[in-house]
């Protein structure tokens, strides 16, 4: 046990030690608080909006189960990349393998670190939604106490599953030449499967049957679907005081079984899987040498592309940006259509499509551009090489920005196509949305690169940790909030004025769009200037 604590403490210190000189900790706290406020408001508002039906039809455990599923889906999405980064591609792998500790101790010490980093998500979602629901349903003190316990239990399930899945995947892929790319693809498939599974559960609730419009029918369907979501439903029933003993037995049994399985498997495979990552696996390939010349800028672009897509952590985050929001929009689109039957009215559907587009694409997809947020961070300790190249830093940065801009454009385009097909609305409005998001997204990509250039993390144990514990992602979210919320308000105002007949529809909305696109263009120019102003001096001074 003592070796577990020793290893765990060292891992934690290594990963989370902040640079006090730079004062990043207060900034991160402010960032967390700002993002927390926005998402907290959304969860509380959502709970207040639909919570009454759950209370009325005695379905509080089912509501909690939904919260648990959302928590676990988010933990699975972000935790999988962290598990791979921290447990398999960490720089300390060689060192820890030489230590006289058991394989399972090593496994759980690293997994506990990942668990702690994911605990915040669990606490945030479960406590905000759960406490709101508890107040609405007039629950007793035991409910709140057990809710608090559930915060610590919930991330275990997705993390143990992800860790168990990662073990054979990493061992298997250690034999492949392009294991980084393969791992990325499989991780994304896992992520997609998790989301599809998540949607399948909701499908049972609201799904494709567009006739379910009454809350009573929806809640009944939900109860049937949630009955199979074990152990979450058992935990939720336990918290609500329903059939306490059987549900306690099921909850404890499932987690104990999973923990035991993880113990057994990790003892046998983890060390071998880690060792396999370190083995010298280069293979002789005669006659494969090619001599292809290109411009310096193109060479930098190709190098960056390969470095990203052959690195499972970076590839995962990059592809996640392209895939995450469209999938969420798809899920939301199907739910909105079936629940509210809004597809019938194009104008009303446009309002939903534009607001969801602005939020998911303008705020989340564009802001979580990890290619931009890792402009220099992903270079890590290779960064000094950049300084030796006979190319101006501005030119080198330009190629990096180009890649990030392309990824943003693809993400926005895929998102808008998803909106058009599944939320429908008026095509011309979706076209305006696309143009606005492309111009704004292009601009903010420059700003994100600038954030990273101003404060890159070049020394880290794992890239995943460097990207996740990065104050720049909060700055990006803050800027997105400051731009998208006023933009959405302006659009809603114009839409309302048009629909009420106070101003002629659609001209008032078109005018609003022209104003928004003009504003996006101005921001684009400003953000570019922020990036390229003094770029030579800024890069030269890094680590000087």
């Amino acid at each position: 046990m003592s070796s577990f604590w020793t290893l765990f403490k060292v891992t934690l210190k290594n990963m989370l030690r902040f640079d006090r000189k730079k004062g990043t900790l207060p900034l991160m706290i402010v960032g967390f608080a700002a993002v927390g406020l926005v998402f907290g408001f959304m969860i509380v508002a959502g709970t207040l909006g639909i919570g009454q039906y759950f209370v009325e039809y005695d379905a509080v455990p089912e509501f909690l189960t939904i919260l648990f599923l959302v928590t676990q889906a988010v933990v699975l999405i972000f935790g999988t990349a962290t598990i791979v980064g921290v447990m398999f591609f960490s720089r300390d792998t060689e060192f820890v393998l030489a230590l006289p500790v058991r394989s399972s101790v090593l496994f759980f010490a690293k997994l506990t670190y990942v668990y702690l980093t994911e605990l915040l998500i669990s606490a945030f979602v479960v406590l905000t939604g759960g406490i709101t629901m508890g107040l609405m349903a007039g629950m007793g003190p035991a409910y709140y106490l057990l809710l608090l316990v559930s915060v610590f239990v919930l991330p275990l399930l997705p993390l143990l599953l992800a860790a168990l899945l990662a073990l054979p995947i990493m061992y298997l892929f250690s034999f492949f030449r392009y294991k980084g790319a393969l791992t990325s693809v499989v991780l994304l498939l896992l992520f997609a499967a998790a989301l599809v599974g998540w949607y399948a559960v909701f499908g049972g609730m609201m799904g494709s049957d567009e006739t379910i419009v009454l809350p009573e029918e929806a809640i009944l369907a939900l109860k049937q679907a949630m009955a199979w979501v074990i152990p979450d439903i058992s935990l939720a029933r336990l918290i609500c005081g329903v059939d306490v003993l059987p549900n306690l037995g099921i909850t404890v049994g499932v987690f104990a079984a999973l923990g035991g399985l993880a113990c057994a498997v990790s003892a046998g495979i983890f060390r071998r899987s880690l060792s396999a990552q370190l083995e010298q696996t280069w293979t002789a390939k005669a006659g494969k040498v090619e001599y292809r010349g290109s411009s310096a800028a193109r060479a930098l672009l190709k190098k960056d592309f390969k470095e990203i897509f052959r690195n499972p952590t970076l590839a995962f985050y990059t592809l996640l940006q392209v895939a995450f929001c469209p999938i969420m929009l798809l899920v939301l689109g199907l739910m909105t259509q079936s629940f509210e039957g809004m597809a019938e009215e194009a104008a009303a559907a446009s309002l939903t499509a534009v607001i969801e587009g602005l939020f998911f694409l303008g705020m989340i997809a564009v802001s979580m551009n990890y290619t931009a947020l890792s402009t220099l961070t992903r270079e890590g300790e290779n960064f000094p090489l950049m300084k030796t190249f006979p190319l101006p830093f501005g030119e080198q940065i330009r190629t990096k920005v180009l890649l990030a801009r392309l990824i943003t454009a693809v993400s926005v385009a895929v998102g808008c196509l998803t909106l058009t097909f599944f939320l429908r609305g008026e095509i011309w409005q979706n076209a305006f949305l696309l143009v606005f998001l492309l111009i704004y997204g292009d601009g903010i990509t420059h700003l994100l690169c600038s954030f990273d250039i101003s404060n890159p993390k070049l020394h880290y144990e794992s890239l995943s940790a460097a990207l996740k514990n990065n104050v720049n992602s909060f700055k990006a979210m803050g800027v997105a909030l400051a731009v998208i919320v006023p933009a959405a308000l302006l659009y809603v105002l114009a839409f309302s004025l048009g629909q009420s007949g106070a101003l002629p529809y659609p001209y008032v909305v078109i005018a609003a769009w022209i104003l928004l696109i003009g504003g996006a263009a101005v921001l684009n120019v400003v953000f570019r200037r922020i990036l390229y102003r003094n770029v030579e001096r800024r890069v030269a001074r890094i680590e000087d």
Partner: protein
């Protein structure tokens, strides 16, 4: 660094010596444009590195001591990348890449990702990458650490050949024997100050041999008088012939 002033001539192999933390790597990083000096000038073949860094860097090939390199690229991708960045033509690129892959025995591994290479192989691919544009100034930070005897020999021969072609080699090392065998001139640095510079003969005149002179200048005791580890009996003095 403290008021460092140094001139290295074309066609010269210059060895840069100093104890750990003396400022060897810092000097080299300033020479390659990685670090900026607070004041002063660095010129490479007449080009001011601070005023025209791009033009100056074209003349430099740098091999770092940690062999950090783009590990997700294959060996051949990395060499082509370096050739692109330094704008090496098709014919020269082919000839030089083939030559260095062959010399370092990396031909068979060229299509594998660098992350699968051993420490020595990574070092070799870094050296090949630094030479693919045939730089006028080849700068190496602790280049011989981790190389097998054959590769170390090849590297020393390569350094000599590079100079025979009228180019310059500037390298740091802890291995005094290598410096004695390869270098035309040597500089010794300690505490950020250049405390001696000259040909090997000039330095030898001031001490019995280079090692003694180095230890004398840098303040390291000539005969190591290390205390024994806790719980261990003292070691016999150096040269003592009795059995323990």
């Amino acid at each position: 660094m403290d008021d460092l002033s140094l001139r290295v001539e074309s066609g010269e192999i210059f060895g840069f010596l100093g104890p750990n933390g003396a400022g060897k790597s810092t000097t080299i990083k300033m020479l390659c444009g990685i670090l900026l000096p607070d004041s002063g000038r660095i010129t490479v073949e007449g080009v001011d590195l601070l005023k025209d860094p791009v033009e100056a860097k074209k003349k430099i090939g740098y091999v770092s001591d940690n062999h950090n390199v783009y590990e997700r690229l294959t060996g051949i991708e990395f060499l082509n990348f370096m050739a692109d960045v330094y704008q090496v033509g098709e014919a020269d690129r082919r000839a030089r890449i083939d030559y260095y892959l062959n010399v370092f025995g990396l031909t068979q591994a060229a299509s594998s990702q660098i992350r699968s290479y051993s420490h020595g192989m990574k070092q070799k691919i870094c050296i090949a990458g630094a030479l693919v544009h045939n730089p006028a100034l080849w700068v190496l930070d602790e280049p011989l650490t981790g190389l097998d005897p054959q590769s170390a020999f090849n590297l020393k021969e390569m350094m000599k050949e590079h100079c025979r072609q009228g180019n310059t080699v500037f390298f740091s090392s802890h291995v005094l024997e290598v410096v004695e065998k390869v270098c035309d001139r040597v500089g010794i640095i300690s505490g950020g100050r250049l405390i001696a510079v000259g040909t090997l003969d000039e330095l030898r005149e001031k001490g019995t041999d280079l090692e003694q002179y180095f230890l004398q200048l840098t303040g390291t005791p000539g005969e190591a008088a290390f205390p024994p580890p806790p719980g261990q009996p003292p070691l016999p003095p150096a040269g003592w012939g009795g059995s323990r």
